[in-house]
């Protein structure tokens, strides 16, 4: 999939920025797991913080906080909300 210049993966977003999920790469397993946490294409995510030493990231989605490993975050394609 070619990405427009605005799009990047979730692990490249600065703290406290809001983004919209464009697409989730990876198999049914990951999509389901993220879907259960309320993360689907079209949803808005706020990046809260990065863990130390390339540790997990903490995001807020639909009012709950979710920790995601960097590997998974790099499979979520997002676009920054203006």
């Amino acid at each position: 999939m070619d990405r427009s210049p605005m799009q990047t993966t979730l692990d490249h977003i600065y703290e406290n920025k809001k983004v919209t999920v464009i697409d989730i790469q990876g198999g049914q397993g990951i999509r389901q797991r993220l879907g259960q946490m309320g993360i689907h294409p079209g949803d808005t995510i706020t990046m809260l913080r990065y863990g130390a030493l390339r540790g997990p990231i903490l995001i807020e989605v639909h009012g709950s906080q979710v920790a995601l490993g960097r590997g998974i975050a790099s499979q979520i394609i997002v676009e920054e909300v203006e």
């Binding site: 049914q28 397993g29 999509r31 389901q32 797991r33 993220l34 879907g35 259960q36 946490m37 309320g38 689907h40 294409p41 079209g42 949803d43 913080r49 990065y50 863990g51 130390a52 030493l53 390339r54 540790g55 997990p56 903490l58 639909h62 009012g63 709950s64 906080q65 979710v66 920790a67 995601l68 490993g69 960097r70 590997g71 998974i72 975050a73």
Partner: protein, 640 residues
């Protein structure tokens, strides 16, 4: 009548359950505390009901064994009423499960638990409107204080009486068409064993649900009819069919959420957000973590040491008194001394450390600090080939290895469950912690005890690294973990939970200690213990321990506390320092901390990872224990 409590993790199902069952299910502010179901009989207005508390599940498409357990019960067809417990501050996400539960066409009630938390966040929910839209009663509750629970169970009886089944909101037209096409072909030939509504099955099959797809493959060719319909969905929407259905359900849930909820004010500037800033901080987070555990350690030792010393003196006097009373060498003396030492061990050595430890652990759990620990530690756990969620069984392991091994069910991958199960048995449980405190901290120094804990973490990490190299495919999987908001623990519930765990020691372990202690005394009287000691003498010789500790190690396999209580019995004195050197105490404690899990844990391992896994755990821990104890002996021999 069977009532099932179903809902996503950490919404308070077990808290509701405990309210009607007395304290039977462990609760905490930690997603996934319940991993298997608990059942209780209760009376509601004179009706006898069986109420089951299910593990939390995010959806009916399950990916870990804890969720599968919940799903198995819900699909069994034996549930008369479902209480769908929902955290209203996460209503939108929770409704996705609600929609799936409605498809089961079982009488249902929606319980908006922790409604106070939602109000604090500024979310107001129109329960009446939601009830009208879904066709099921919607009851707000606050389970920690019991508010609304009476109404909830009265509604249970009513929906049961009326056999009231909710409405399932419809998907978009094109999807509904495909669902009903599959629905009608299924009705002519039912491809699975389960008696679930046909619409439910159709949706699950279109969703490519692994379990049901495999079922249909067993003895029908239904798959040939399912695949083209899945293909049609994919063609229309341009994404895989499971994503079509899940996005559709998500949209329905969003739509419902928007209709029934109003954000009345932005979330109040909560002190918890400020706390979060520090607790989860890249740098300060780790400092706080270290401080919390150091404080916790000193809290236990402070209380325990303060109580142990005077109590031991009293019991020593009594034991001395027995000698005068019965005369040296008599059977009555051996027996009464054994019993008294068993009692003394429980009161003077175990309880002083166990009680503060379990209360402290309960408080940490109920506040909700542990998921934060998982977040902070993920990067390190990752280094040994696991992910942050594994930290939860590890932390629970400091309480008791049995639930810790069971909690590995929250991990999705069998390789992780296997490795974590084995590692978690090496974490010192409350019983072994009392040994570390009661022997090392008490007789040597608190710092020596800290050193054992540090050594333990190091060894667990290295063992993890070793084990995960045997399962390399497990290493590149990532963390997905919900971090719940902090809760101010309700003191009554925290104390009830602590009592539930302490009671386990008092009614199961303590009698065993007393019996074991008396038995050892009898063995000494009949000089049978010498055989055991001789059998283990190569080990005790290797580790330079007194020969008489051999029997205690065998008793320790039953319950870890026995090793220590027996130690005083085997050595014939509570003044351990008079007969063992500090090095010997360290070597003994290191060995006891790591060697073979207790019987109950072996049974749990057998259940969770099979006979071979349990056997591997036994050999692995025994090997590690011998190596480490030997290392300790040599190292301290040089240093001291």
């Amino acid at each position: 009548m069977r009532i099932a409590l179903a809902g996503q993790t950490n919404c308070g199902k077990s808290t509701i359950f405990n309210h009607i069952a007395g304290y039977k299910a462990i609760t905490s502010n930690l997603p996934g505390t319940t991993v298997k179901y608990t059942e209780t009989k209760t009376q509601i207005n004179g009706y006898t009901c069986n109420c089951i508390d299910l593990p939390g599940t995010y959806s009916l498409t399950s990916s870990d064994p804890a969720e599968l357990e919940a799903r198995k019960h819900l699909l069994s067809g034996e549930v008369d009423v479902i209480i769908n417990v929902v955290d209203p501050s996460l209503l939108c996400r929770s409704l996705e499960l609600t929609l799936q539960l409605l498809e089961l066409e079982v009488p249902m009630i929606l319980c908006l638990n922790m409604i106070d938390e939602a109000q604090r966040k500024g979310i107001q929910i129109d329960a009446q409107k939601l009830s009208n839209l879904l066709g099921v009663p919607v009851i707000p509750t606050i389970a920690t204080t019991g508010k609304g629970l009476k109404e909830l169970f009265i509604e249970v009886l009513r929906v049961r009486e009326e056999r009231r089944i909710g409405k399932t909101p419809k998907f978009s037209k094109d999807i509904e068409e495909i669902v009903s096409q599959l629905d009608s072909t299924l009705n002519s030939e039912w491809p699975v064993k389960e008696k679930v509504p046909s619409r439910f099955l159709s949706i699950k099959l279109l969703e490519n649900d692994e379990f049901f797809i495999n079922e249909t493959k067993r003895d029908s060719n239904a798959i040939n009819r399912i695949r083209p319909l899945q293909g049609k969905l994919e063609q229309i929407h341009g994404v895989p069919s499971d994503e079509v259905i899940s996005s559709e359900r998500h949209a329905l849930a969003m739509n419902l959420f928007e209709q029934v909820s109003i954000v009345i004010h932005p979330p109040k500037k909560d002190i918890r957000i400020a706390i979060d800033q520090w607790v989860m901080h890249k740098f300060f987070g780790y400092l706080i973590l270290a401080a919390v555990f150091y404080g916790f350690f000193n809290f236990i030792f402070g209380i325990g040491g303060y109580i142990e010393e005077p109590l031991m003196e009293v019991f020593d006097q009594w034991i001395g008194g027995l000698e005068e009373f019965f005369g040296k060498g008599s059977l009555a003396l051996f027996l009464s001394k054994g019993v008294l030492q068993g009692i003394a061990g429980g009161i003077a050595i175990v309880l002083p450390y166990l009680v503060p430890f379990l209360i402290g652990l309960s408080i940490l759990e109920d506040i909700g600090y542990l998921p934060g620990v998982a977040f902070l530690m993920d990067v390190f756990v990752h280094r040994i080939g696991l992910h942050g969620k594994s930290i939860i069984p590890f932390i629970l392991g400091y309480g008791c290895s049995v639930p810790a091994v069971m909690t590995t069910r929250i991990l999705e991958f069998p390789q992780h469950r296997f490795i974590v199960s084995i590692l978690t048995t090496m974490i010192p449980c409350a019983a072994r912690i009392t040994i570390i405190f009661g022997l090392v901290a008490f007789f040597i120094s608190p710092n020596a005890a800290l050193a054992i804990f540090a050594l333990n973490i190091l060894v667990v990490a290295i063992s993890g690294k070793i084990l995960s190299t045997f399962y390399p495919e497990a290493s590149n999987l990532g963390l997905i973990l919900e971090i719940p908001v902090y809760q101010f623990p309700v003191l009554k519930n925290t104390l009830k939970k602590s009592w539930y765990r302490i009671r386990e020691f008092i009614i199961i372990a303590w009698p065993l200690l007393i019996i074991g202690s008396a038995l050892l005394a009898l063995m000494e009287y009949g000089k049978v213990d010498l055989y055991f000691n001789r059998f283990l003498s190569p080990l005790t010789y290797l580790l330079d321990l007194p020969v008489s500790v051999g029997t205690t190690l065998i008793f320790g396999l039953l319950r870890k506390e026995l090793s220590m209580i027996m130690l005083t019995q085997a050595l014939g004195t509570t003044q351990v320092l008079a007969v063992m050197t500090k090095t010997q105490i360290m070597v003994f404690t290191v060995f006891v901390t790591f060697y073979i899990p207790c019987l109950a844990t072996i049974a749990a391992l057998w259940r969770e990872i099979g006979k071979k896994g349990a056997l591997l755990a036994i050999l692995f821990t025994l090997f590690i224990a011998i190596i480490l104890a030997l290392f300790t002996r040599i190292f301290l021999g040089i240093v001291l």
